[in-house]
């Protein structure tokens, strides 16, 4: 083992007095060697991002750092700012999470990549241009010249992230810090970027410090793993050891919370063969909005048909742009399909309107992804949960009583009814949203990426709650997600969507074990660490 490239010794970052804890990271010591990828894994609040910022010394002015950060012998913590600037970009490259936001929207890619060359290397304009194009070629962009002349909004998410990586590696730094670089990307794009990083690491002989919350990613690319909890380093070691035989209880609980791709059969759900919801040949198209920010055009639906049995759970999986959210919104009639039929039992409701629709609408309810946006911040939880009842004429105190029952059912303290949404965490808000949806006693619950924004341990709790409620209340569930592991554990049936079409559907276990459609196969192949933790021991 060669000498450490990066050596953190007792690094702590002290937060200002009004923060919720004293240290963002406390007494962290770790090493990165010149030819390995070290993954720092943890949930939100673990301090992993702060660690990355501490290495490159881009900390907010309100915090103070102690400890030594040695890069090839030099202590970065002691360097004057001018010397540190010379190191940033040249010896340490950094890639961030959301590439659209991390690139200047009014400058071309070529200009931004060339900027790092302009700052550090004393090259002529022509040499700079060649080096810039070489950097873009190195990240396997399909048309580097066109990319260099493009603005960020003209590229796809994957292309933008490749451009960011090109910018970080243009001067062949010895250390690459990647702060959740694939979290905002589709799963197929993520697989490509992970592979790219691995190849470039080997090619350039760099050390990589890779921050992530996803153990699948860790299994996919890490050589060594460091686990963080609340600012402390709780476990570290070679990847195989840590993810297969974790020693620390926190690591164990995190790994246990990761849904397995091929779960055990488990308790058979109360499922009949009666079809409760039949969606047939639904089509929806959009006029493209000529807006200022040309983001992704809203996907349409193209002849989509799915069926849900009473008591079953149907997963709709796909990447962004597949149309799964559009389908969800059509099913609950927040949008109206252009063509096709949707039958709930015998009721054809695709083209019902106005009052008739409002009368029927509570039989299908929805839970959303954004936990802070789905509850009116100015209303108390009790009013929010009981609103569906009050709208139908239930008296307020009666509705509140029911609300407290529902809060208990979702495993929250009934006294929560008196508080406001912002006082709760993301997972708790999601439970409140569930209680609110269940208050009107729907037959079908549509959940649109309900756990995507939650930490993996919280995610496991909410999913367990969902399964419990399904069994207790006989709910039928439609579950939208991009995460195939979650779908494998929650859904009996699955429909895979791509570009507005359903490409494959059937029993989840069968589809995931033997996919018929190439896209499904591609999705499954892209899951990071798919062979690890695939089945229960």
């Amino acid at each position: 083992m060669s000498d450490a490239l990066l050596d953190l010794a007792q690094v702590s970052v002290r937060l200002p007095p009004d923060a919720d804890r004293a240290f963002a990271i406390a007494d962290v010591s770790l090493r990165v060697h010149p030819d390995e990828i070290v993954c720092v894994v943890g949930e939100s609040g673990s301090g992993k991002s702060m660690l990355a910022n501490a290495v490159i010394r881009l900390l907010p002015p309100t915090v103070t750092m102690t400890g030594a950060v040695r890069l090839g012998g030099r202590d970065l913590a002691q360097l004057p700012e001018a010397a540190m600037r010379a190191i940033r970009g040249a010896e340490i490259g950094m890639v961030f999470q959301e590439p659209m936001a991390a690139l200047n929207p009014i400058q071309t890619i070529g200009r931004q990549v060339g900027e790092v060359l302009r700052l550090h290397a004393g090259l002529s304009a022509r040499a700079r241009r060649d080096a810039m194009l070489a950097a873009l070629t190195q990240v396997r962009l399909r048309d580097p010249l066109r990319a260099s002349r493009s603005y960020p909004h003209q590229l796809s998410g994957g292309e933008r992230q490749r451009a960011m990586i090109a910018m970080a590696l243009a001067l062949k730094p010895r250390l690459l810090i990647a702060d959740e670089p694939t979290t905002a990307l589709d799963v197929t794009t993520q697989a490509q970027i992970l592979q790219l990083i691995r190849e470039l690491q080997a090619q350039n002989q760099m050390g990589v410090l890779f921050i992530t919350h996803d153990f699948g990613v860790v299994a996919e690319i890490a050589d060594r793993v460091v686990v963080m909890q609340n600012g402390h380093l709780v476990e570290e070691g070679p990847v195989a050891a840590v993810i297969n035989a974790p020693k620390h209880p926190y690591t164990q609980s995190l790994i246990a919370a990761v849904p397995k791709l091929r779960p055990a059969p488990g308790v058979p759900t109360q499922r009949s063969d009666d079809i409760i919801l039949r969606v047939a040949h639904v089509t929806k198209s959009y006029r493209s909005a000529a807006g200022i920010l040309r983001g992704k055009p809203t996907p349409g639906l193209d002849d989509v048909s799915v069926a849900l049995m009473k008591g079953a759970s149907l997963g709709i999986v796909g990447e962004s742009g597949s149309g799964k959210s559009t389908l969800a919104r059509c099913i609950v009639r927040l949008m109206q399909p252009d063509a096709g039929s949707m039958r709930l039992h015998d009721l054809e409701y695709a083209s019902l309107s106005g009052r008739a629709m409002r009368r029927q609408i509570q039989r299908i309810q929805m839970v959303f992804q954004d936990t802070s946006g789905s509850l009116n911040p100015r209303k108390k939880v009790g009013d929010l949960v009981g609103q569906g009842l009050m709208v139908r004429g239930t008296r307020r105190h009666e509705a509140w009583r029911r609300a407290e029952e529902l809060l208990a059912m979702v495993r929250l303290d009934p006294k929560a009814a008196h508080r406001y949404p912002h006082e709760f965490s993301g997972g708790q808000r999601q439970r409140i949203a569930l209680a609110r949806a269940l208050a009107v006693e729907p037959e079908i619950l549509v959940a649109d990426e309900p756990v995507s924004a939650l930490d993996v341990s919280v995610q496991a709790q909410v999913l367990a709650l969902l399964a419990d409620l399904r069994a207790k209340l006989g709910l039928s569930l439609i579950f939208i997600t991009h995460d195939l592991r979650v779908a494998a554990n929650v859904c009996d049936l699955v429909a895979v969507m791509q570009n507005g079409k359903v490409v494959e559907s059937g029993e989840t276990a069968r589809v995931f074990a033997n996919p018929a459609h190439p896209y499904t196969q591609a999705l499954l192949d892209s899951i990071p660490g798919r062979d690890w933790n695939a089945a229960p021991h």
Binding site: V332, L334, R358, I361, Q362, I364, Q365, M366, F368, D370, G373, S374, L375, N376, P377, R378, Q387, G388, V391, R392, H422, A433, R436, A437, A439, V440
Partner: protein, 273 residues
């Protein structure tokens, strides 16, 4: 503006000044029951020289302090009522446009753009000339030229809020659109509307002052702008006649703006909490 102590100071300062002005305006008939019109002494007495007329007298021997105090009443009444009317118009149009979207939104926004293309002060002048200058017509005129920014603001808020999941979930549990607009969306944009309203009172006062400076004020009342106009030919010899009422306008508008900023901070902080 910088750190918290300044913010608190300016908020307090503006509140005190505003309170004083409002009080003075309310008490005008008590302080100077005969109104600003009567001749109380020699013309053109300089300010701070006589205890009877602390701010001096104008060309007709009228008490400048009396004129100032009664002028405060006029400015405040016009400012507040005109703003209330403009808010009513603007919030209604903006809410309808932002909630209904589609062609309704397009039509209403073109209409709003139209009003914003016409220079407000010139339209105001034309309206007041055509309808004849009086407090009522001035209020109507100011309301008519001031509503567009409110409409744009409210439309923007409604557009973004009606897309938020909490509104969509209300639709799902069967809340009627009317209740959604008034009980869900509107309370959540109350803060920017209030702040805009407070700043609009300041603009309304400036508009009215401009009108009365140009001679289009209500001929039956004395207002600060008219006082500056009267003092203009005597700029060299009786400078105070122009300076004092202008200073009053400046102070009032400044206090309102600072108050608006302090309000923004306070309401913004609560929203975030």
């Amino acid at each position: 503006m910088p750190a918290r102590p300044w913010r608190r100071f300016s908020g307090l300062f503006s509140l005190v000044v505003l309170g004083a002005i409002v009080l003075v305006g309310l008490l005008a008939p008590v302080l100077y029951p005969a109104g600003p019109w009567p001749n109380v002494g020699d013309p053109l007495i300089a300010p701070f020289t006589s205890r009877l007329v602390p701010l001096g007298t104008d060309t007709l021997g009228r008490d400048v302090a009396a004129e100032l105090v009664h002028g405060a009443r006029v400015s405040l009444i016009i400012g507040i009522v005109a703003t209330a009317a403009a808010l009513l118009i603007g919030v209604t149009i903006g809410a309808i446009a932002g909630y209904a979207r589609g062609w309704v939104d397009d039509v209403l926004m073109r209409f709003t753009e139209l009003f914003q293309a016409v220079p407000s002060f010139i339209l105001l002048i034309v309206l007041v000339v055509l309808l004849g200058p009086s407090i009522v017509t001035i209020i109507i005129g100011i309301a008519v030229v001031s509503w567009p920014p409110v409409a744009r603001l409210v439309r923007g808020e409604f557009l973004s809020l009606s897309n938020r999941e909490f509104v969509q979930s209300c639709l799902l549990i069967g809340v009627s659109p009317a209740r959604i607009v008034f009980l869900e969306i509107l309370p959540n944009c109350a803060a920017p509307i209030i702040v805009t309203g407070s700043i609009m009172v300041a603009s309304a006062i400036l508009l009215e002052a401009g009108l009365s400076f140009l001679g289009l004020g209500d001929p039956n009342v004395i207002s600060w702008g008219a006082m500056v106009a009267t003092g203009r030919p005597l700029l060299r010899s009786a400078t105070w006649l122009s300076v004092i009422p202008g200073l009053a306008i400046l102070l009032t508008v400044l206090a309102i703006n600072l108050f608006g900023e302090a309000l923004t901070e306070a309401l913004g902080a609560r929203r975030r909490a």
